[in-house]
Symmetry: C2
Subunit: 748 residues, 2 copies
C-alpha cells in the first residue's frame, strides 16, 4: 500500500495478489524437492540458502532498487565497500571449512612464509567462498567480477603457471587469496588483440646483467585494454607478455608486475594507467588500460612452473620450456570463468523467469467479452509460448552446470597433483580430460550465455513498458549480462573451436573407430562408433516415444549435421566455409549434454531427490518442453538433414509443444517459486513474492523519486523551459530588422 | 594520433586505415547514386544532407562521445537546451517552406486568433521540420522523443479529435506547433492498462451546473504512467479519460488538461506528478506519472470533433457521438509514431551497419600460418555471415519506409479534407485506406524494430569487447532502441492484430473472391483471388530464377501459411491458439512488402536513379541476399509448408546465400559509405570514416577519462581499498579474544 494510492478495496479489476495466491493454493508440486533437485543435493541446497539469506540481508552487500539510480562513480565506490565486506566473509568461510575459529589465528599462519605446519589453502578451503561469489554474481554482477578478476583470473593465472613457492608467496603470504595485502588484475587483452592471445605484443625482455625483466608496451595497439580492476584498484597484475631472451622471442608468458603501492595506491614508475570509462553495463568495474615503459621486475616474478629462465653470467642465459604443460596451463586460466558462467546462466536466467512469470500471472489485459474481467496475460497462448519455454531453460541448465563445475574441480585437483609429482602418465590423462572440459565448457558457456541474453530480452518484452523501467531489473540485467557473450572467449570463437574439436572426434570415430569410452562417455556418447553405425544404417523414422528419445534425437541430429559438414569439407577443403554450421554443432552439443545430464539426474534413484510422483511428472514435462521448443526452433535443420519429416514437425513436434504449454502453465508459479529467490535477490518490484505488483512498483518508484522534491513544483531546469515557451515573436527578438518598414528604409 | 601512443610508423601489423582505403580505391560502385536511391529521390536526398550537416555541427545539438558519460540529470537538462534550439529551427523551417522571411512576421500572424488571411499550418509546412526531427532521432533518440511526444502525440491527438477551432487554438494560437506557449504530453497509458485503451480508468465527469469536466484518478492502477514529458516539462496534456455524463459511461475520450503554469512550471491544483525515474534507456526523457484529484476544466476543453456534450439546463445534458469517425480517429493518433519508427529502423540500422563494417574491415585477428599477417575479420566466412546480411537490412527497409510515409501523409490529407467537408463517401474510402495503413504500419513497425534490435546486438558482438565500450554507440544505441519494440503498440500485439486482419482478408478473398484491386494492390497483391488460385492449383516447384521470384516466394509463403492457419482455426475454432503462426504472418507480410517495394523502385526507369550498371547489379545482390537470408532463417516453415523442399534448401538457398557473401563483401565499405553518415552522427570512434580505429578510439576514451586526474595517482576511494588491503590479522582486529591464552582464562 502507499499513501499516494486512492485504492478502492472493493475493486475487482486489478488484484494481482489474488491470482498468485490462487496458483500457490492450487499447486500439486513439492517445491522443496524441486529446489533440492535444482540445487544439486541437500547439502549444496542448504549452503545456497544460508549464503543467500546472509548476503541478501548484509547491510553492505544487499541491493535494493536505489542501485538502479547510481552513477558510475557511485557504483565504483559502493563496489569497493562491498569487496571489503566480502573479504571479511572470505576469512570466515575459510575458517568454517577448516572448523578453526579459536586458539590460533589460522589465516595469520597461512600467511606466514615460515610456517610449515599449516596445510596450504586448497580449492576445498575456498569452496564456500566460491559459492558465495557465484551467488553474489546473481545480485550484483559487477561485484563478483571485480573479485573474480582478482581471485579467478589473477589467482588462477598464478596457480596455473607459478611454482609451488610462487603460488604460496603471492597467494598466501602476500594475502591475495584472502583479498588482503595485494589486489590483482589480469593483463591479457590488448587494444589490438583479444582472442588471439599468441599475438599479444607487450614485451618482457630479460636483462642478464641486472637479472631482471623489462616490461614494455611497444605500440598503441599493445596497450593492455579492458583490464578489470586496473583503473583504480589493482596493486599487481598477471601480465601476459612476449618473453625475449638474448634477442629471441619465446612467445607469450606470464609475469607478476607490481602496479601500485598497496598502502597509497600510487602508481609505480613507468606504469601509465587510464580509465576505460563508460560501458554498456557493469559500470562498477574499474576497467582500465595499462602501458608499460621500461618497468623493471626481478627475474623471479616470471611465473615459471613450465618456463624457466636461468642466468648464465659470462654466457647466454638459458630458457627451458615444457611445451606440453605450457599449453595445458593455457587452457586452465580461462576455464574457471567459463565454467562459472554456465552456473551464472542457470541462476541469472531463473531470476528473470521468476519476475516475468509472476507478472504474467498477476497482470490482466483485455477481456473476451465486454464487461467480463480482463484475462491474465499467462492465459493467452502466445504469452505462454513466450514465457514458459524461458522458465524451463534454467531448469535444464542446472544439472549440467553443477556437473561441469564438479568435473572442473576434480580435474583441476588431478592436474595439480600430477603436475606437482611430475607424473607424466597422469598428466597425459589429465590433458585429455582438460581438452574435453574445454569443449564442454566452451560450448555450454557460449550456448547458455546466448540463451540467457535472449531470455532476458524476450521476458522484458513480455512485461511491456514496465519491463523497460529501470527498477524492474531487466535493463541493468541485460546490460550486465551480455558481456558474457563476448568476454573470456567470444561466443562465436568458442563455438567454432569446440565444434572443430567435435568434428575431429567425429571423423576419428566414424572412420577409425577411435573412441575413448571412459573419457568420452561423459559428454560424447553420441560419438561411440556403434551408435554412429546404428544411426547411419537404420532407415526407420526417428521417434519421440520414450523419455530418452527427447535427448537421443539431439544425438542423431548432431551426427547428421557432423556428417554433412564432414562431407562438405572433404569436397571443398574449406573448414572455415562451414563455420555457420559449426556454430550449430556447438549449440546442439550443449543442448544434448544438458538434456542428457538432466535426464540422468531425474532418472537416478539416488541423485534426483524427487520422490513425489506429481512433481517428478512435472519435471519430465519441463524436460520435454525444452527439447520440443528447440527442435521447433531448429525445424529448418531437422527437416533439411532429415532428422524429422515436415509431417513430423506438423503433426508431432508442434502439436505436442502447444499441448504442453497450458499444462506447464498450471504450475508456472510453483515452478518459479521453486527457484527460491528472495525479493532482495530479484530486486524487481513487479516480481516480488507477494504479487502486489502495482503497489510494490509504485512504492519503489516513489522511494527513488520523491514526489515533492522532484516532481511537483519547479524542476531544476524550469527556467530553460519557461524561457523557451515564453520567448517573444521572432521579429521583436531580432530587433525588428525584418519588418517591411525597416527593410524599405534599408533599400533606400 | 595521440600523445600517449608510442607508435611505430613502420608497423605492418595493425594499420586499419590502409585496409579501408584499399576498399574505397577498389570499389566500382557509384555511391552517390546509391545514396539517392536510399534517400528516395534527389530532392529528398539534398534535404537530408543539408539537415544532417546543420544538426551534426550545431553547437547545441551536436553529440560527441561525452554524451555517453552523462548522468540522468545531466541528460535531462541538456535535452531541454536542445529542445529550445530545435524550436528555433522549427520557426526557420516553417518560414522556409512558405518562403516567407520578411515584411511581416509569419509566425506571429499564425498565432493571431483573429488573423483570417494567413492560411493555417499544414503538414506541408511542417515537412522540413518533420524530416529534421526524424534525422535527429538518429543522433539523439531521446531528444526526438521528447519533441515527438509534444508534436506527434499531443499535437496529433488534437488534430485527430479536435474541431477546427480547437486545432487552431491549441496548436497555433497557443503556439504548440511552434514549440512555444505550451508544451504538451500524452496521458494515455495507465499503470494498469497499456494496450487495452478501452479499459482506461481515469474519469472525466460532466458537471452541468458549472459546465465543466472533473478529472479524477479513481485508483492507483489508473495513475497515468510512463507519460513522456510529464515529470518536468509538460504544461498541458491530452488526457484519455472515460466520459461520464449523467451517470452514464460513454467510453474513453480525449481532453486537454492544463498541468502547469507555463511561466513557472508550477503544478495546477489537484494535479500530482512524479518522476518515473530510471529507465533502460532514453534517460533524457522525463517520463512521469500523473494523478488527478478533482481537476476542473471547462467543457470546451474536451476534444469534440466526433463527440459532443451539450449543456441542457433544467434537463439532461446531451451527448452526440459519431461512432465511425470516433473509431477512425482512434487509429490515427498512434499511426504517425509507427510510420516514423519504420523510417527510424532504416536510419538507425544503417548507422550500426556502418560502424561494424568499418571495424570488420580494419580489425585483424589470427593468421592462417605463423608469421603471416593476421586476417581481417571480414575475410572470415562466419564474420561475413554475421555482418553482411545486417548491412542489407536497412537497404531493403528504406524504399518501404519512404513509401509508407508518403502514403501516410497523403491519406491523412484525404482524411482531413473529407472530414472537414463531412464527405461520407470519401470518408468511407479513407477509412479503408486507414485500415490497410494500420496493417502495413503495424506489421512493418513490429518487424523492423525487432530486426534492428537484433541487428544492433549482433553487430555489437561482432565488435567483441570494443562493442561493449560505452563510447562505441552500441550499448546506448541498443538501450535507446529496444523501447520501440514495446511502445506505441507492443510488437506482439501489433503483429497479432495486423495478422488477424490479413487472415480475414485472405479468407474473404479465397472463399468469396472479395478483393479491392485499387486499395489492396498496394501491399496485398498476394491476396488477389487469381493469384491465390494459381498458387494452390499449380503443382510445380517454386523457383528462384527471375529477380521477382525472390519477392514472389514470400507471397507464396504467406498464402501457404495463411491457408494452414485458416484450416487449423476452422477445426479448433481457436484463433488465439494460432498466435505463434499469426506473428509469423505479420513478419512475412513485412518482408514481402519490403522486397516488393524495393524491387519496384530499383526496376523503375524513373524512380531508381541508379544508372550505373555495376551499381544496379550490386543492388540486386543486396536484394537477393536479404531474401535468401530470411528464407534460410525460416527454412523450418519453408519446408514444413512445402514452399521449398529440403533439397532446395540444401542445394539452392544455402549455397547461393554463401556464394553471395564474399561478393557483397567486396563492396561492403562502399555499401556502408553510401549511407553517408558523418562521424558526428555515428558517434563511435571504431566506426569513423578514416578507419583509424585504434587512435580514434583511444583518443575518445582519453578525452572522457583524463589520464592524469583519474587514472594515475590516487583514485577517489583509495582509502577504502588501502584500508582493506592493509587490515591487520583477525585476532588482533578482534582484540585477541579468540587466542588460546585468553580462551583458557575465560574457561576458568
Amino acid at each position: 500500500m502507499t499513501r499516494l494510492s486512492t485504492v478502492n478495496p472493493d475493486a475487482t479489476v486489478l488484484d494481482p495478489q489474488r491470482f498468485i495466491k490462487r496458483e500457490r493454493d492450487g499447486s500439486a508440486l513439492d517445491i522443496d524437492q524441486i529446489n533440492t533437485f535444482l540445487e544439486s543435493d541437500p547439502h549444496a541446497r542448504d549452503l545456497t540458502h544460508q549464503l543467500v539469506d546472509q548476503l541478501a540481508h548484509d547491510p553492505v552487500i544487499k541491493t535494493d532498487t536505489s542501485t538502479y539510480d547510481l552513477t558510475k562513480t557511485e557504483q565504483r565506490e559502493v563496489t569497493v565497500k562491498k569487496i571489503a565486506r566480502m573479504a571479511l566473509y572470505m576469512e570466515q568461510d575459510v575458517k568454517t571449512v577448516r572448523k578453526h575459529f579459536r586458539d590460533t589465528d589460522l589465516l595469520k599462519s597461512m600467511q606466514d612464509l615460515n610456517d610449515n605446519t599449516t596445510p596450504p589453502l586448497t580449492n576445498k578451503d575456498l569452496s564456500i567462498f566460491d559459492k558465495r561469489l557465484s551467488l553474489v554474481a546473481n545480485m550484483d554482477p559487477q561485484l563478483s567480477t571485480r573479485i573474480g578478476v582478482h581471485l579467478g583470473l589473477f589467482g588462477n593465472c598464478i596457480k596455473g603457471n607459478g611454482t609451488d613457492e610462487q603460488i604460496k608467496y603471492w597467494l598466501q603470504t602476500r594475502g591475495a587469496l584472502l583479498i588482503k595485502g595485494i589486489y590483482g588484475c589480469f593483463a591479457m587483452t590488448e587494444l589490438g588483440h583479444g582472442s588471439n592471445v599468441a599475438q599479444l605484443q607487450t614485451t618482457a625482455t630479460y636483462d642478464q646483467e641486472s637479472d631482471t625483466f623489462v616490461i614494455n608496451t611497444p605500440d598503441l595497439a599493445a596497450t593492455k585494454w579492458w583490464i578489470g580492476g586496473a583503473a583504480h584498484s589493482a596493486t599487481h597484475t598477471a601480465c601476459y607478455a612476449r618473453l625475449k631472451v638474448g634477442g629471441k622471442d619465446y612467445g607469450v608468458k606470464t609475469f607478476v608486475v607490481p602496479l601500485r603501492d598497496p598502502s597509497t595506491l600510487q602508481l609505480m614508475p613507468g606504469v601509465t594507467i587510464g580509465d576505460i570509462g563508460a560501458k554498456m553495463g557493469r559500470d562498477g568495474i574499474d576497467n582500465g588500460w595499462i602501458q608499460f615503459r621500461n618497468v623493471v621486475i626481478p627475474r623471479e616474478f616470471m611465473l615459471s612452473r613450465f618456463t624457466k629462465v636461468q642466468r648464465n653470467l659470462g654466457g647466454q642465459p638459458t630458457v627451458q620450456i615444457d611445451p606440453q604443460m605450457d599449453q595445458i596451463s593455457g587452457y586452465s586460466a580461462l576455464l574457471s570463468g567459463r565454467v562459472n558462467m554456465v552456473m551464472d546462466s542457470f541462476r541469472f536466467g531463473s531470476k528473470f523467469a521468476t519476475i516475468a512469470t509472476r507478472y504474467a500471472v498477476g497482470r490482466q489485459q483485455f477481456s473476451e467479452k465486454p464487461g467480463e474481467p480482463e484475462k491474465q496475460l499467462i492465459d493467452y497462448p502466445l504469452h505462454q509460448y513466450r514465457v514458459l519455454p524461458q522458465i524451463v531453460i534454467p531448469y535444464i541448465i542446472s544439472p549440467a552446470a553443477f556437473s561441469l563445475l564438479n568435473y572442473y574441480y576434480s580435474t583441476l585437483d588431478e592436474l595439480y597433483a600430477a603436475s606437482s609429482k611430475n607424473d607424466k602418465r597422469a598428466l597425459l590423462v589429465v590433458g585429455q580430460k582438460l581438452k574435453n572440459l574445454f569443449i564442454d565448457s566452451a560450448s555450454l558457456k557460449a550456448t547458455n550465455t546466448w540463451l540467457v541474453a535472449q531470455l532476458i530480452d524476450e521476458l522484458r518484452q513480455t512485461c511491456g513498458g514496465h519491463g523497460y523501467s529501470g527498477y524492474n531489473a531487466f535493463g541493468k540485467g541485460y546490460n550486465d549480462w551480455v558481456v558474457q557473450c563476448t568476454w573470456e572467449g567470444d561466443n562465436n570463437i568458442l563455438s567454432l573451436t569446440s565444434a572443430k574439436s567435435i568434428l575431429k572426434k567425429f571423423v576419428d570415430s566414424a572412420t577409425k573407430g577411435k573412441y575413448n569410452k571412459e573419457l568420452d562417455g561423459r559428454s560424447f556418447r553420441y560419438l561411440d562408433p556403434q551408435f554412429i553405425r546404428k544411426v547411419f544404417t537404420t532407415s526407420s523414422e526417428n521417434k519421440l516415444d520414450s523419455l530418452y528419445d527427447y535427448t537421443n534425437i539431439w544425438a542423431v541430429a548432431l551426427l547428421k549435421l557432423l556428417r554433412h559438414i564432414a562431407k562438405q569439407v572433404e569436397k571443398t577443403k574449406d573448414l572455415d566455409g562451414a563455420s555457420k554450421l559449426l556454430v550449430l554443432v556447438s549449440k546442439f552439443h550443449a543442448l544434448y549434454v544438458m538434456l542428457n545430464t538432466y535426464y540422468e539426474k531425474l532418472n537416478s534413484p539416488t541423485d534426483s531427490y524427487v520422490t513425489c510422483p506429481k512433481t517428478k511428472e512435472e519435471l519430465w514435462k519441463v524436460y520435454k518442453l525444452f527439447s520440443l521448443y528447440f527442435i521447433d526452433k531448429h525445424a529448418g535443420e531437422f527437416q533439411q538433414f532429415k532428422i524429422l519429416s515436415p509431417d513430423q514437425i506438423s503433426q508431432v513436434v508442434q502439436p505436442r509443444l502447444l499441448q504442453l504449454l497450458p499444462e506447464i502453465r498450471k504450475e508456472c508459479i510453483a515452478l518459479t517459486d521453486a527457484f527460491k529467490w528472495p525479493d532482495g535477490m530479484l530486486n524487481a518490484p513487479i516480481g516480488y513474492y507477494d504479487g502486489d505488483i502495482y503497489h510494490n512498483y509504485f512504492n519503489e518508484v516513489l522511494k527513488n523519486n520523491p514526489v515533492e522534491k522532484d516532481g511537483a513544483g519547479i524542476p531544476p531546469y524550469h527556467k530553460l523551459l519557461a524561457d523557451m515557451l515564453t520567448r517573444g515573436d521572432e521579429f521583436e527578438r531580432l530587433g525588428g530588422a525584418n519588418n517591411a518598414e525597416i527593410l524599405t528604409k534599408l533599400a533606400k
